[in-house]
C-alpha cells in the first residue's frame, strides 16, 4: 500500500515549488516583451532615454529572472525525484514536450539573455535589438511547450495504454500539439504574463511619479505599459480558460466545481456570482445567480447543458465499474494469459483503466472492490468545491480590477494627464500584487481542479508518486521552503533597492540622485 501521507507531502512539495516558480515566470514573460518594445523605440528613434529604460527595466528583469531559473530547475527534476511512477507511466508522451522546450526555447532564451546583459558594447544596435526580441520569443516558446505538457495532463489526447510496457504511449504527436486545452491555456497564460509585466512597470513608474522624480523616464514607461497592458488584459479575459472547460471529462468536472453546479439544469445554466458551497448537502447556500450566464460563457451557446456534479459522480461510477474489468484483464494479460480474446476484451475497456486505479486508494485487490469503495472512489472524482469556487472568483475579480486600471491608465495617458493624476498613480501602485494573486489562484484552479488525477482520467495522483519515506519528504520539503524563503527575501530586498534608486542605478549621470538640484520636473 502507498502511504497516504507520502502522497499528501509529495503534493504539497510540488504545489509549493510550482507556485513559487510561478511567482517569477509571468514577470519574465511580460517584461521581456516590454524590454523588446522599449528597445525597438530606441533603435527607431535613437533617443537615449529608451536605451536607459531598456537597461533599467532590464536590471529588474535580471533580478527576477535569476530566481525563475533557480526554481525552474526544480520543476525539471521533480517529476523524476518525487513522481517516479508518473514519469514511467507517461514519460513517453509527457517527456517529449519538456525535452523540446529545452532544445527549442530555453536554450534560445538563456543564451540570448547573457548577450542582452553583456552585449551592449559588443553588438550592433540592430543585433542587440534582435537579441532582446529573441529573449522574449524564447521565453514565450518555453511557455508554449510547458503548457502543451500541462494541457496533456488535463486532457490526455493522442496516446493509448500499452499493457506490454505498462504505460501510456504516444500515437499522434499532432494531437498532443494541437490539444485544444493546451492552446487556450497557452494564450491565457502568456497574456496573464504580459499583464503582470505591464502592471509591474505601471506601478513602479507611478512610484517615481508620486515621488516626483525622473518624470520623463516614468511617463514614457507608464505610457508603454498602459497600452501593452490594456491589449493584454482584454486578451486574458476574452481568451479566458473557460472555453477549454468543455473538452474532456476532467475539464467538465472542473467547470462544475468552479461554478458549484451540483445539478444539471436546463440550458442555458445560471451563473452563481457568490454563495456558500456546501459539500454535505450538495447545494450552494445564499446563492446569487445571473440567469443564463454560465451556459453562455461555458458552452458559448444557448442550448447546450452544463453537466452538474451529481451527474458527473454517477457517470464516474459507471466508468469505475468498467475500470475494474479493465484492471482484471490487465492482470491476466501480464500474468501469462496473453490471448487474442483477452487483448480484444481489454482494448474495449482500457480507456477506463485509470478509473479502476482510483480504487487503489481503498484496496489493493481492485477486482474485488466493494460497493462502498466504488462509491468513495466515485466521490473522489470531484475536487473540493469551495476552494475552487472561491479561488476562481478571486482570480476573476483581480482580472477585472486590472482591466479597469489599464482602461483608466490608457485614457489618461492618451489625454496626457497621467503624470498629474495622483489617484491613478496610487491605484496603479496599490495594484502591484494583483497579477500575482490572479496567477496563483488561476494555477490553483487548474491543478487542484484536476484532482484526483495526475493525468486526467488516466493516472490517479495517489499511485503516481515515488517510493519514498515520510522522513524523506519532510526533509526535502523543509529544504525547499528554507532555501526558497531565503532567496525570496534576498530577491525582494534587491528589487526594492534598485526600484528606490530608479534609473540613477545605471550611473549615467542623467537621473535624479545624480543631479545637483533636488527634483527635476517634467
Amino acid at each position: 500500500m502507498i502511504s497516504e501521507s507520502v502522497v499528501e507531502l509529495s503534493r504539497w512539495q510540488f504545489a509549493i515549488t510550482a507556485m513559487y516558480h510561478f511567482l517569477f515566470v509571468p514577470l519574465t514573460l511580460g517584461l521581456s516583451f516590454l524590454l523588446a518594445i522599449m528597445e525597438s523605440v530606441y533603435v527607431m528613434t535613437g533617443k537615449q532615454i529608451y536605451r536607459d529604460m531598456t537597461k533599467f527595466w532590464g536590471k529588474l528583469f535580471g533580478i527576477n529572472f535569476a530566481l525563475g531559473v533557480t526554481t525552474g530547475l526544480t520543476m525539471e527534476f521533480q517529476f523524476g525525484t518525487n513522481w517516479a511512477y508518473y514519469s514511467h507511466y507517461v514519460g513517453d508522451v509527457f517527456g517529449a514536450p519538456l525535452a523540446i522546450e529545452g532544445l527549442v526555447a530555453f536554450f534560445l532564451e538563456s543564451t540570448m539573455i547573457g548577450l542582452f546583459f553583456f552585449g551592449w558594447d559588443r553588438l550592433s544596435k540592430v543585433q542587440h535589438l534582435a537579441v532582446t526580441w529573441l529573449v522574449a520569443l524564447g521565453s514565450n516558446f518555453s511557455a508554449l511547450w510547458i503548457l502543451i505538457a500541462n494541457g496533456w495532463m488535463q486532457n490526455p489526447v493522442g496516446a493509448y495504454f500499452n499493457f506490454e510496457t505498462m504505460r501510456m504511449e504516444m500515437d499522434s504527436f499532432a494531437e498532443v500539439l494541437l490539444n485544444p486545452v493546451a492552446q487556450v491555456k497557452f494564450v491565457h497564460t502568456v497574456s496573464a504574463g504580459y499583464v503582470t509585466g505591464a502592471i509591474f512597470v505601471l506601478a513602479v513608474s507611478s512610484y517615481f511619479m508620486l515621488r516626483n522624480r525622473d518624470i520623463p523616464f516614468a511617463r514614457r514607461s507608464f505610457a508603454i505599459a498602459s497600452a501593452f497592458g490594456l491589449a493584454s488584459a482584454i486578451s486574458v479575459i476574452v481568451l479566458g480558460d473557460e472555453s477549454g472547460y468543455e473538452v474532456g471529462e476532467v475539464q467538465k468536472v472542473k467547470l462544475a466545481a468552479i461554478e458549484a453546479e451540483w445539478d444539471t439544469h436546463p440550458a442555458p445554466a445560471a451563473f452563481t456570482v457568490v454563495g456558500l458551497p456546501n459539500e454535505e448537502t450538495m447545494t450552494t447556500d445564499y446563492a446569487l445567480k445571473i440567469p443564463g450566464a454560465l451556459g453562455l460563457i461555458a458552452t458559448r451557446s444557448l442550448d447546450e447543458e452544463v453537466t452538474g456534479i451529481k451527474d458527473l459522480v454517477a457517470h464516474a461510477e459507471d466508468r469505475i465499474r468498467n475500470g475494474i474489468v479493465a484492471y482484471g484483464l490487465l492482470e491476466k494479460l501480464r500474468n501469462g494469459e496473453d490471448t487474442p480474446e483477452n487483448r480484444a476484451a481489454f482494448s474495449k475497456v482500457s480507456v477506463d483503466l485509470g478509473y479502476g486505479l482510483l480504487l487503489k486508494r481503498y484496496t489493493q485487490a481492485v477486482v474485488d472492490a466493494t460497493e462502498e469503495q466504488i462509491k468513495l472512489a466515485a466521490r473522489d472524482t470531484i475536487p473540493q468545491v469551495a476552494p475552487m469556487f472561491w479561488t476562481f472568483r478571486v482570480m476573476v475579480g483581480a482580472g477585472f480590477t486590472m482591466l479597469l486600471l489599464f482602461v483608466l491608465a490608457f485614457y489618461y495617458t492618451a489625454k496626457r494627464k497621467a503624470y498629474q493624476t495622483r489617484w491613478l498613480q496610487w491605484f496603479a501602485l496599490l495594484s502591484l500584487p494583483l497579477p500575482w494573486i490572479a496567477s496563483e489562484m488561476g494555477w490553483f484552479v487548474a491543478e487542484f481542479g484536476r484532482q484526483p488525477w495526475a493525468i486526467g482520467e488516466i493516472l490517479p495522483t495517489y499511485v503516481a508518486t515515488s517510493h519514498l519515506t515520510e522522513t524523506d519528504l519532510w526533509m526535502s520539503l523543509a529544504g525547499f521552503i528554507g532555501l526558497y524563503t531565503l532567496f525570496l527575501v534576498i530577491e525582494i530586498y534587491l528589487m526594492v533597492k534598485y526600484i528606490r534608486k530608479g534609473p540613477s542605478a545605471l550611473q549615467t549621470g542623467r537621473y535624479h540622485f545624480e543631479q545637483n538640484t533636488a527634483t527635476q520636473g517634467a
Binding site: I63, Y85, S87, A99, I100, F107, S110, W120, T165, M166
Partner: protein, 378 residues
C-alpha cells in the same frame, strides 16, 4: 527511416552527446566557479573570474536541463528510477545548483565585503557539489544500483543515500571534480587577465596529472576489483520496453566489451593521455590548445564510461533482471523518432547561436575592464 533498434542506439549516442555538451560547456563554468575563492584574492580578481563566464553560464546550464528532459523523453524508466532512487543525491545537486543563478546575478549588486564573500563561497560550493555528485553517481552505476520493479513496473529503491558514498564512487566523484576544474582552469587561462591568468595556468598545469592518476586508480580498481554485468538472454532490439523480459548475469569485470572490440582501448589511452597533454599545453602558455585538449579529454572520458557500461545504462544489484539497458528502457518508436528529428534539427542551430555568442563576447577580461564598468558587470 530507422528501425526501432537503430533508433535506440542513436538515442544512446544522443544522450551521450548531450552529456558531453553539458560537461564541456556547463562543466567549464562549474569548474570556473568552484575556484573563485582559490584563484581570486581581491574583489576585482573574483569579478574577473565571474565575468569570463558572465554572458555564457546561463546558456550552458541549459545543457543540463535539456539532458534531463531528453532522458525523460527517451529513457523514461531511467529518468524515473535514477532520479527517485538517487533522491538525496539529486536534491543535493539541486540545492547546490540553486546558488548559481542567484549567486552570479546578485553577488555584485551590493557593495559590501561580507555580502560578496558569502556569494563567492555559495558559488564555489554550489559548483563543487554537483560536480562531485555526478561523478559519484556514475561510479555507482558500475557497482550496480539497488532497485527492482514491482509487477506494475514501479521502481523501488532499496539502498540508502550513504551507501552511494563508497570509496570507489568517491574516487569517481573526485575525478569528475578535477576534470571540470581542469576545464575551468584552462578557460580562465585563456580568458582572464591580471593575476588570475597566471594562477589559472599553475592550476591547469597541476590538475592534468592529478586527473590522469585518479582515472588510472579508478580504472585499475574497476579492472581488478569490481564485477561486471552482461545480458544472458538474446537481445531483441525492437521488442517493447520491458526490462523484466531479459536475464542478466554477473561477470568477472566490466571489460567484456574491450575483449570483443579492442579498438575501445584507444578511448582509455585518450582519457589518460589527454589530461597530461592539456597540462603540457597550459604550462607552455598555449591556453587555446589546452582548453581544446581538456574538452576532448572530457569527451573521451564520457565515451569511455558509456562504452564500458554498454549496453547497460543502470544495472541493478538487487534484482539483476531489472537492469535498465538501452534496448529495454526507452520510449516508444514514435517518440524516439520524433525526438530524433527535433534534436537533429535544433542541436546544430543551438551550436550556431551559442558559438556566435562566444565569438561576439570574445576578449580577455582584464581587471581594468571590471573597474571601469563596475555597474554593468557581474
Amino acid at each position: 527511416m530507422f528501425d526501432y533498434e537503430t533508433l535506440r542506439l542513436v538515442w544512446w549516442l544522443l544522450v551521450g552527446v548531450l552529456l558531453i555538451g553539458f560537461a564541456i560547456a556547463d562543466g567549464m563554468d562549474l569548474g570556473t566557479a568552484m575556484m573563485i575563492p582559490v584563484l581570486g584574492k581581491t574583489d576585482t580578481e573574483r569579478r574577473v573570474i565571474i565575468n569570463t563566464i558572465g554572458p555564457h553560464w546561463d546558456g550552458n546550464q541549459v545543457w543540463l536541463i535539456t539532458a534531463g528532459g531528453a532522458i525523460f523523453a527517451a529513457w523514461p524508466l531511467v529518468y524515473a528510477t535514477a532520479f527517485s532512487g538517487f533522491y538525496w543525491a539529486m536534491l543535493l545537486v539541486l540545492f547546490a545548483l540553486f546558488f548559481r543563478p542567484v549567486g552570479f546575478e546578485y553577488r555584485s549588486k551590493k557593495d559590501s565585503v561580507a555580502w560578496r564573500r558569502n556569494w563567492d563561497y555559495a558559488l564555489a560550493v554550489g559548483s563543487f557539489v554537483p560536480s562531485l555528485v555526478f561523478g559519484v553517481a556514475f561510479g555507482n552505476l558500475f557497482l550496480g544500483v539497488p532497485f527492482y520493479f514491482d509487477e506494475f513496473t514501479r521502481p523501488i529503491y532499496t539502498g540508502s543515500f550513504w551507501a552511494l558514498l563508497n570509496p570507489f564512487a568517491i574516487v569517481c566523484g573526485l575525478a569528475s571534480v578535477v576534470m571540470l576544474a581542469l576545464q575551468g582552469a584552462t578557460w580562465l587561462q585563456m580568458r582572464a587577465g591580471g593575476e588570475v591568468q597566471g594562477r589559472a595556468q599553475t592550476m591547469a598545469t597541476l590538475l592534468g596529472p592529478v586527473l590522469t592518476v585518479l582515472l588510472a586508480v579508478a580504472g585499475a580498481w574497476l579492472y581488478y576489483g569490481i564485477p561486471g554485468y552482461e545480458i544472458s538472454s538474446t537481445v531483441v532490439g525492437d521488442a517493447p520496453s520491458n526490462p523484466l523480459s531479459k536475464t542478466v548475469t554477473t561477470t568477472d569485470n566490466w571489460f567484456g566489451n574491450y575483449t570483443d572490440y579492442p579498438i575501445l582501448w584507444t578511448l582509455v589511452a585518450a582519457s589518460v593521455a589527454l589530461p597530461l597533454l592539456t597540462s603540457l599545453m597550459a604550462k607552455a602558455g598555449k591556453s587555446g590548445f589546452a582548453f581544446t585538449l581538456s574538452s576532448l579529454a572530457i569527451a573521451a572520458i564520457i565515451l569511455m564510461t558509456g562504452f564500458t557500461l554498454f549496453p547497460f545504462v543502470m544495472p541493478s544489484s538487487t534484482d539483476l533482471a531489472s537492469a535498465l539497458t538501452l534496448w529495454d528502457a526507452t520510449s516508444s518508436e514514435l517518440t524516439l523518432e520524433i525526438m530524433f528529428w527535433v534534436a537533429l534539427f535544433f542541436v546544430p542551430i543551438i551550436l550556431g547561436y551559442t558559438l556566435w555568442g562566444y565569438y561576439k563576447m570574445w576578449r580577455r577580461i582584464e581587471p581594468e575592464f571590471i573597474e571601469q564598468n563596475s555597474v554593468s558587470n557581474y
